[in-house]
Subunit: 224 residues, 2 copies
Amino acid sequence: MAQHPLPSLLPQTGLTRHRRLREQGSLRRADLDAILDAGFVCHLGVVVDGRPLVVPTVYGRDEGRLYLHGSVASRSLAGGAPVCVTVTHVDGLVLARSVFDHGVNYRSAIIHGTARKVTDPDEKLAGLRRLTEHATPGQWSYARRPDRKELAATTLLALSLEEASVKIRAGAPDDGDGPDAGSGVWAGTLPLTATWGVPEPDPLLAPGILPPEHIARRAGTRHG
Amino acid sequence: MAQHPLPSLLPQTGLTRHRRLREQGSLRRADLDAILDAGFVCHLGVVVDGRPLVVPTVYGRDEGRLYLHGSVASRSLAGGAPVCVTVTHVDGLVLARSVFDHGVNYRSAIIHGTARKVTDPDEKLAGLRRLTEHATPGQWSYARRPDRKELAATTLLALSLEEASVKIRAGAPDDGDGPDAGSGVWAGTLPLTATWGVPEPDPLLAPGILPPEHIARRAGTRHG
């Protein structure tokens, strides 16, 4: 996706400053963009009656904004309530000599902000296009686009990508040069990879309709 | 994992009652257990100064309780604050004839409760065992277990599995019998599968140490 006009370094604020495991923190906006572009499901956190609620939903982005499918949380978002959106890719298990040094290789982005309900039909259409193309590039110009009634029935949220915290952990366990190194315990990582499968046609599909190239070519490719 | 002694039907409360897409909601505790057992990373939501914070962390479960690695949220959890823990498995894209009917096939569990910091060393050890065995069955009896100092340095949270909301969406798009069915647009699903890779040894590992059977045999198997 296009680069956005925000600073190339993420701001360090009270919300985003890395308190723990600082060596895993990244301030590069390019890392944020890459983490967002590698996925399509986020976890949206809102506060409802003083309690946290975390729901999975789909997202897309443009130059500086995140768009979210927001119906599931819409009753909680009147009045510009604060939200937190987290995107996580799990890359594998970190298997150390000691249980204490076990962990996960991952890439995560935590975005803080205030979600705005998109009401302008043009912006909503543009946002839904980002969202659709984000999950399935090529699909917006292939499937039937939302009509006025469908557009009105869709809740779309927009969120600035200004304030975000990025963490990345990769590579081997940390206890390879510690006292447990001579213990004879195997240590390393067990990678985890998500892969797109072969398109499965709707049983109600009329015979002879084949998946378009932009869908068929994803089969067997890596996701995330 | 073992079955827990909670009712086989999930309670319908103000927090868990399905408001949207009711046909995707499940009240079967067995579905909750299966979703939890299929993953090892959750998204933990807490409220910090009135704002939501959503962080990824690892978890395990026993008969009725969820255990979470909680360091990242520990400063927010003094005094039994409410938490929301969400586990989501993304099974694929739902590609309909119309953009409006696009969606995701997924399984998700949203658990509401009050996280308790585990302080008793025996319970902490038992909880960490669940957590370790949950991510990597067989690893607790293979790697070096936490000593007293490491145990004290680990923040473990416990949460009742009593109040939870489960949603599952599977299968074909919903517009196969609607007015778009004759449009000639291909519709179906694009499956997404996570697979364990081949163990990658720590470069600092002494020569001749091979991955144990419980790790090696996961290579090529499905996760989630």
